[in-house]
């Protein structure tokens, strides 16, 4: 078979994917597309169906119904061809603890049917690139969590796959290691790799994903860019804090034309939607100055992906 991935178009197509395990309906008709060379963030609480979707796209599971294409190849009809075009980095650092980093990478190369010397060369290249050269000949059980994840990601890259599937790649990592991994993923994308990334960290999706699909209970509940998802929750607001609640009452009256409202949680705070941008702030402050109402503090409140997540799924993704 010689079907090449399309140069343009979608590198991943999921079309009405359904997966039932007995009575458990892990996926109930999930559809999405990932344009070539972009990153899709697949978000959802635990048990939403993220991993099931990844396992179908990586040919590990067959869908109950529906269709999926990866790099232009049907995952059910030609699983072997799909496997030659993908890299998978899993939730667990799926590397062999008893082998060294170099042995792990050459094993993956050999199992991809690279010649021995080619596999060894590629391993050395990846170890260098992922700053693991010093640890190359140490068993992986001596590696830190961050080093294992880097090796796991390196193992997914042995054959330069055009499509990369990352299932919660940074779960359990410290912030510095997470930042490292984000930088690597970003540089892969800038070189043209298509990435599907599942995560519970909204910051991660915000940072890496061009588009986001939120799934819950096996269904797509929202889709769009991070900015689009946030804008569905309303606009940026300015919170004005006063020293006393009676000042806040008077300020709210004075600013009625700006759509001001008293905070429900703090009676000395007044919130104003920031419709007109920075000039709104100037107008508000001028008006308050005219009324001799002194503002103690000004805060900007921007809706976060966390807010989106909570409003869509009723759970807090990062801490679910």
């Amino acid at each position: 078979m010689s079907s090449h991935p399309p140069a343009t178009g979608s590198a991943i197509i999921a079309d009405s994917l359904v997966k039932h395990y007995g009575d458990v309906h892990a996926l109930q008709g999930v559809s999405f597309e990932v344009p070539t060379g972009t990153v899709l963030g697949l978000l959802g609480p635990n048990g939403a169906g993220k991993t099931t979707a990844v396992r179908i796209l990586t040919t590990i599971l067959k869908p109950t119904s529906g269709r999926a294409e990866v790099a232009g190849v049907d995952v059910v009809a030609h699983p072997h061809e799909v496997r030659r075009r993908i890299g998978l980095a899993g939730q667990y650092a799926a590397v062999d603890e008893n082998l060294t980093g170099h042995e792990n990478l050459t094993l993956v190369g050999r199992l991809n049917h690279l010649a021995k010397a080619v596999a060894a060369g590629r391993s050395a290249e990846l170890l260098e690139q992922f700053h693991l050269t010093d640890a190359a000949h140490r068993p992986v059980r001596t590696y830190s969590g961050g080093m294992r994840r880097r090796l796991d990601l390196a193992a997914a890259l042995v054959t330069h796959p055009p499509v990369l599937l990352l299932d919660e790649p940074t779960t359990g990592l410290d912030p510095a290691s997470r930042q490292d991994l984000w930088d690597v993923i970003s540089s892969l994308v800038s070189d043209g790799t298509t990435v599907l990334l599942t995560t519970q960290y909204l910051e991660e999706a915000d940072r890496l994903a061009d588009r986001i699909v939120v799934i819950d209970h096996g269904l797509v509940v929202a889709e769009g860019t991070a900015a689009e998802l946030k804008s569905t929750l309303g606009e940026t607001t300015v919170a004005l804090s006063f020293r006393q609640s009676d000042l806040a009452v008077r300020a709210a009256d004075a600013l009625a034309d700006f759509g001001a409202s008293r905070s429900t949680t703090d009676d000395s705070v007044v919130s104003i939607p920031l419709r007109g941008g920075a000039s709104t702030v100037r107008d508000v402050l001028n008006l308050l100055h005219g009324h001799e109402l002194e503002v103690g503090r000004i805060d900007l409140h921007e809706p976060t992906l966390d807010d989106v997540f909570i409003s869509l799924t009723g759970t807090n993704g990062a801490r679910a």
Partner: protein, 273 residues
């Protein structure tokens, strides 16, 4: 990571591997997986040591503690005992097959392997082959330990080697059961726990340590016919002398029968696991 971490252009090279290499790839993949498992064994020599500790304890117990009270007419008990110990050793060695696979599964390694364009059979084949190498080494070491405690073969070297081959083949048959167990449980500890209830009746309700004629009738019936007894008797015949074709044929048929039933079940389990 710094900007030097540029991974290079993701160029998909259609020359990498062929669509489906068939038997050639299956063999290469099996060799690669066998090598990986043997390397892992070398890195954790404790496993090999512990695989020897248990049979050595049994040798001492039965040779020196219980042995004096067990009479086998016309035979030194140590000669009767050691083939039974060998059969027990390969049986308990099969637990490692289940533990190894369960650990690979629990750690997500099987998931990665299933996403690679490799032979499906190689994961199981590489595990069983590596365990067979380990089993062979351990059986040879146990024969040497037997010689130290007074065990004497009464045939020729070729027959002794044939005896080891029968044992190792029985070990492969048991491995097909333990592949299935390893893929059915969540982790290594569970594999270990699941194995003992299966192996205890196989090793003790047998002719490995005592003459089954001392057992109640129903148990004696089983103890004379079951695969570990047949294998023990085959090894006794090959190493100590006596008619070989009956027990050797019985042992090989048991081993083939177990594989014929369990290998397809194990492979089906791997496809679904």
């Amino acid at each position: 990571m710094t900007a030097t971490a540029s991974p290079g252009r993701p160029t998909f090279d259609p020359a990498v591997g062929t669509s489906d290499g068939g038997l050639g790839w299956a063999i290469r993949d099996t060799i690669a997986m066998t090598g990986r498992n043997l390397t892992a064994m070398r890195r954790v020599p404790q496993v090999l040591v512990f695989s020897l500790v248990q049979p050595v304890i049994f040798v001492f117990m039965f040779r020196y503690v219980f042995g004096g009270a067990i009479q086998i007419p016309g035979q030194d008990y140590v000669d009767y005992l050691m083939p039974g110990i060998f059969a027990q050793t390969v049986s308990f060695g099969a637990i490692n097959t289940a533990v190894g696979l369960a650990e690979d599964k629990g750690k997500g390694l099987l998931e990665r392997l299933r996403s690679l364009p490799m032979s499906r059979a190689a994961v199981l084949g590489g595990r069983v082959l590596a365990d067979t190498v380990r089993n062979t080494v351990i059986v040879v070491l146990m024969v040497l330990i037997g010689l130290l405690v007074g065990f004497r073969t009464h045939t020729n070297l070729l027959a002794v080697i044939a005896g080891i081959a029968v044992l190792v083949f029985f070990g492969v048959a048991l491995a097909s059961i333990f592949v299935f167990i390893g893929l059915s449980v969540p982790n290594g500890e569970a594999a270990q726990a699941a194995a003992f209830p299966l192996l205890a009746p196989l090793t003790f309700a047998s002719s490995a340590f005592v003459d089954p004629s001392s057992m109640p009738g129903w148990l004696e019936w089983w103890a004379r016919r079951q695969p570990l007894s047949k294998t023990t008797e085959a090894v006794r015949a090959l190493m100590l002398g006596g008619p070989t074709s009956g027990p050797v044929t019985a042992s090989l048929l048991w081993s083939l029968g177990i594989m014929a039933v369990m290998a397809p079940l194990a492979i089906a389990k791997y496809r679904k696991a």
